[in-house]
């Protein structure tokens, strides 16, 4: 009887030890972000970011209002965004597009006013602009995941995540990119 009790107790302790191992969060769990999935065309909001993804265009050439021009394989995503709470920490500093196993960051090429990337977002006053991604030609199919955040390493912060259907995107030879502006209405 005593030995049965000992065995049972031992098994319970082994099971408890195993559960602790399983339940312990990973080393980097503290740095996990709060990811909010948002559908294209719908407004998503996080701690200090609110954004709506609009038209997606694939172009061989992009031209800014200033006349600056570049050829390549461009994915141009229209975004309307604002900060939710704090302008000081409201720089749109993370804008990435993941296609397959590769991740592309929004391009810094061209005049600053051509891209919403690294634009100061303002609480309650949305701005509209484009994010331009320069990708290899073979990446222009299937779907991608757009991630937006107001910190480059959003540990414990919000990330808005939008699925981008590249097959459904408009394909054009060249496209004119409007400068970032305050959103109408």
């Amino acid at each position: 009887m005593k030995s049965t009790l000992a065995w049972a107790l031992a098994l319970v302790m082994v099971a408890a030890a195993w559960s602790v191992t399983v339940l312990t969060p990973a080393d980097d769990a503290g740095s996990d972000a709060f990811v909010t999935d948002v559908a294209a065309g719908e407004r998503g909001s996080g701690r200090n970011i609110a954004a709506t993804v609009g038209a997606v265009t694939i172009a061989k050439s992009v031209t800014a209002e200033s006349g600056w021009n570049a050829t390549g394989n461009w994915v141009v995503i229209e975004v309307t965004a604002e900060a939710s709470s704090d302008q000081v920490h409201g720089l749109l500093s993370l804008a990435t597009l993941k296609i397959g196993d590769r991740t592309y960051s929004a391009s810094e090429r061209g005049p600053d006013e051509m891209t919403l990337y690294r634009t100061q977002l303002v609480p309650g006053v949305p701005q509209t602009g484009s994010l331009l991604f320069e990708v290899p030609e073979n990446a222009l199919r299937g779907s991608g995941i757009l991630r937006l955040a107001t910190s480059t390493t959003p540990w414990g912060d919000s990330i808005l995540q939008v699925n981008i259907d590249l097959d459904a995107a408009d394909r054009v030879g060249s496209t004119q990119i409007a400068d970032v502006d305050w959103a109408a209405g």
Binding site: S31, W68, A70, R102, T103, S105, E108, P111, F133, T153
Partner: protein, 217 residues
């Protein structure tokens, strides 16, 4: 195995057996020591392809620091708008620039200025500091990010004295090497550890005189 033999003989002739066992042990120690010494002398068990920097010529493609690189031209010119280097001709300043084509072979975007990246290219004629990096022909000097799988033509530009380098001079460009690893301080992020240079490109400098206003060579 040798120990086993020694032990078996100990029962027959204890003194002789102990002597043989000691001898066997010594032999094993010497052999192991020799094996370790040979391994250490030949660089260990890890497969290594590192044999010092490999020399390349212009227009020759090679891979280093997880980038596919081709050095196209090396030039010296009075001015190079858009390169990030501003010269004063009266002070005898010129621009030494290297035009390269580079493709990021990693899966993540990478700053051209990252550790072990293109800002670590060194020219051998004593120019100081890291080069300014710009996208060739963009006419817009800003942060340069290498997107994965997207070849880019970049200019690496340094300010030089007008008597420092000229037409026909050979220049050795030492190309950086690095390997990516996950940061131990901030898990989930990656850092590049610099390695000794893997390649040296030898090319001849062209003097382009005054240079063009559109920033092209």
């Amino acid at each position: 195995m040798l120990w086993g033999v020694g032990e078996a003989q100990q029962q027959v002739a204890p003194a002789r057996g102990r002597y043989r066992a000691t001898l066997a042990a010594l032999l094993v120690i010497v052999l192991l020591g020799a094996a370790v010494a040979i391994l250490a002398a030949t660089g260990g068990l890890e497969t290594s392809t590192r044999r010092g920097p490999v020399e390349h010529g212009p227009q020759e493609e090679f891979t280093s620091s997880d980038m596919r690189i081709t050095v196209e031209r090396a030039v010296v010119v009075d001015q190079l708008p858009g390169s990030g280097v501003f010269t004063d001709a009266d002070a005898g300043e010129r621009v030494f620039a290297v035009l390269i084509e580079v493709e990021n072979l990693d899966v993540d975007p990478r700053l051209a200025r990252s550790d072990g990246g293109l800002s670590r290219v060194i020219a051998d004629f004593g120019i100081e500091g890291e080069p300014e990096i710009s996208v060739y022909g963009d006419g817009d000097f800003s942060v340069v990010t290498l997107q994965p799988g997207v070849p880019a033509r970049l200019l690496l530009s340094w300010m030089v004295d007008d008597d420092q380098i000229g037409e026909g001079d050979d220049v050795h460009l030492s190309m950086p090497d690095a390997e990516k690893r996950e940061s131990t301080l901030t898990p989930g992020t990656f850092v590049w550890d610099e390695l000794p240079p893997s390649a040296v490109v030898v090319t001849t400098v062209e003097d382009l005189g005054e240079g063009r206003e559109d920033g092209r060579l």
